[in-house]
Symmetry: C2
Subunit: 165 residues, 2 copies
DNA sequence: TATTGTTATACTCTATAACTATA
DNA sequence: TATAGTTATAGAGTATAACAATA
C-alpha cells in the first residue's frame, strides 16, 4: 500500500507503525460506537441509561464504595449520587454503611437488579450475535486474546465469603 | 478449560461456542467503555459531547442530510436538530439546503470544525497509544483485521468532485 | 398521505459549588 | 485539614408530540 503524499518517504518503517495504529484505532472506535449503540438501545427499553447498565454490570460481583465507583467510571461523585438514587428507588440496588469508614457508603446490587442485569446481558449477546457470528469460534477466541492486553484493568472483585457461590 | 457447572456437559461443543462468544463480548464491551472514556474526556476538554465529536468525525468526508445522520446515529431527528444547532453556533458545521429535495437539509463540516476534529483525533491516538502499544505492529494489524467483519458498515462517503483532494 | 425538519416540553445526565459528617 | 457523600443549581442530551413545508 503506497502513498502519494509528497512529504512522506515511501516504506518508512515509522509510517508503517503509525498506519497500523490508525487502522486499529479506527476499528476500535467504530466497534465502540456499535457496542454502545446496542447497549444504549437495550437499556433504554428498560429506562436504564448506559451508565446505569454499566453500574449494574459492575455490581454483579463487586460492592464498591461510592467514591471508588465514581472514580472508576470517570464521573463526579455528585453525578453518581443521583444515578444511584434513581436506581435505588427502582429497587435495582441498595446503599449500605461501610463497616470500616463511617463516612463511606457501599453500593450493592439487589436480587431484582441481578435478575434484570442477567436478562439484559443475554439480550446484548443475542443482539451482537449477527456481528460476532461473522467470525468462527477460533477467530473469536483470537480476537478476545488480542483485545486483552489493550484493556484497562477492571475494578477489583469483592471476595465472596468462603462456602458461598 | 473445564467447568464445574453440574448442569452442563463437559466439553459440549455448543458450550465452547457460547464461551468464545461470552469472552469476546466481554472484551468488546470493556474496550468500548475504555474508548468512550477517552473520547468523552478529550471532547469534554473542548465542550464537545461524545455525540458531537462523533458527528464531526463522520462529517469529515460526508455531507449527509439530517434524517440520514439521525438514523445512522440512532437518534431522534429532534435530538439531532438541537445538537447540530449548538455545533453550528460554534462555527464547527453548517446546514445547507439539499439541492434535490426542498424539504431536506444537508449538514457540512466547516474548516474550523475540520481543523478541530483533526486535532482531537490526534489527541485520541496519543491517549490510546499506551494501550495499543502493548501490541506490536503485526498484532495491531491482526486485531484490526479480525475486528473488520464484526463492524457495521459506516455511512456512505460523499464522492468528492474529480480533480480535488 | 407520507416525509423532512423544527419547536415546545419534560426528564435524565452531568459538573460545580456549598454543605455536613467523619478521618 | 482532608476525604466521603449529599443537595442545589444549571446546561446539555434525549425522546414525544405538535406543527409547517414539501413530496
Amino acid at each position: 500500500m503506497t502513498t502519494d503524499d509528497p512529504e512522506g518517504a515511501i516504506d518508512d518503517p515509522e509510517d508503517a507503525v503509525a498506519d497500523s495504529e490508525d487502522a486499529l484505532i479506527d476499528g476500535l472506535v467504530r466497534s465502540a460506537f456499535q457496542i454502545m449503540g446496542v447497549l444504549t438501545r437495550i437499556g433504554a427499553e428498560q429506562d436504564l441509561s448506559l451508565t446505569q447498565l454499566r453500574v449494574l454490570g459492575i455490581l454483579r460481583d463487586r460492592r464498591p464504595r461510592m467514591s471508588d465507583l465514581a472514580a472508576f467510571l470517570g464521573l463526579d461523585k455528585s453525578t453518581l449520587s443521583g444515578l444511584i438514587a434513581r436506581a435505588e428507588q427502582r429497587g435495582l440496588l441498595t446503599r449500605a454503611a461501610n463497616p470500616d469508614d463511617k463516612r463511606a457508603v457501599d453500593v450493592l446490587i439487589t436480587d431484582a437488579g441481578r435478575e434484570l442485569t442477567g436478562r439484559l446481558y443475554l439480550e446484548a449477546r443475542a443482539a451482537l450475535a449477527p456481528a460476532t457470528g461473522r467470525l468462527d469460534a477460533a477467530q473469536r477466541r483470537q480476537l478476545a486474546q488480542l483485545l486483552e492486553p489493550v484493556l484497562t484493568p477492571p475494578l477489583p472483585l469483592t471476595p465472596r465469603p468462603v462456602g458461598r457461590r
